[in-house]
Amino acid sequence: MIALDIQNVSHTYKKWGRSLPAALNNLSLQVNQDEVYGFLGPNGAGKTTTIKTILGLLRPDFGTIKVLDKTVPNKSSRQYIGYLPENPYFHTFLTPTESCHFYGRLFGLSRKERQKRISPLLERVEILPLAKSRIGTFSKGQRQRFGLAQALLNNPKLLILDEPLSGLDPLGRVRFKEILSKVHSDGVAMFLSSHILSDVEGLCSKIGMVYKGCLEEEGDVKTLLASSGHLDLESYFVNRYKDKDSRND
């Protein structure tokens, strides 16, 4: 089953009515339900723009996106998506429990269902002892873990993670990856954008390389590394993009 189907999507940002260079240029990719897809590329390549179009926050100029056969931006397409943004910001005056009730209501979950899910979820991401503290007092790592909890609240079938491991210490990253592996083993497809390539290598079954809004290469990690002669994803990535870093454009 296909969890995410992006077909020929293009998007151009506009500033004061003038078009900027295309952020997405005829991008197509698919993520199967049993996959963890690593979406890689240098800064400004179009990763976050792709994620925003999947979530309906941006409308593509051309192309179609389907999530579990539901067309984006139809709001039903977001019913089974869990999303953790980069540097998530929550309503700081709410506690994790209050926040989960808020997000749960947005998913249309009944009070009984929310109460059943929230405590185990907070325990799973190891912030249950902080359930009654205001999120405004949390460290970056604690916010990141709460971000994962809210992303899992609706029992998603597709989890979209934008830099999920940034701001976590080494121990936190290990724990976070363990949780993600467990979530995936429960049958959740993942679409993950990250610059921490060693983690991507460990987590992802398939990767796609995006540059200037185009998908340049796609395949499973082992095959890509074997065909390119690199030992790890980081050296492969650096070698590929060192001459065309978008910061030099």
Binding site: L55, G56, K75, P85, P88, F102, L106, G108
Partner: protein
Amino acid sequence: MISIYAIALATFMEAVRNKIVWAFGALAILAILVSRALGWVSSGEDLKVMIDVALGAMLIFGLLIASFISSHLLYQEEEKKSIYLVLSKPVSRLEYVLGKWFGLMGVLLSHIIVMLSLFLPFFLAQGGKYHNSLLVAVFTMMLEFAVVISLSLALSALTSPLFSAVMTFVISLLCHGVESILELQQYVNSVLAKRALSVMYHLLPNFSNFDYKLEAAHNMPIAINGYTFLYACAWLLLFLGSAVVITQNKQL
């Protein structure tokens, strides 16, 4: 519906935990206390002055809350990107705007209830008598707040928070003086200026339709009819509809 309720509740909770709301509330209470002092210096009219000043304070601080808090909250949601976590759920942008509107209405309603529950016992203790026109004046004030909040949401979706807050507040004050624009036309010679004033008169909602402070102070019967309500609904729908259209077309 549950999405609208959830967003309204979160908006309400965020607003009432904002120190600015409490500062405006404290100043409004101070104004109510000052109304007594002003009453003493106005021979024989002290209770009327009390009502006039108290209702004026409720209005001004309500307008400040409606202008500044709504602009601040919307800006903060976009700037800090917490809006992504709301709109990435199965929530339409229409539901988002309506949720914000209801939440802010809840804040203004609380402001009115708190002010009234402080003012009324104080007023009665000073020898004043309760009359229905007071509540009718407060009800029409809420109609005005409903329009102002929707104007603020529309401007916030379009411009920066400070500009939209100041614009909302200034436009609200101008709308109280719409009748004066017609009078001003008589003193202007330029045809162009007359036209400009005429356009302004027709473009701005006339908030004197909601202003019954004087009638309440003098215990005069207030005959509000369906027109007042329909007039508020028409402007409310225009501004709220604009806010929805702007938000729906916004690229986040």
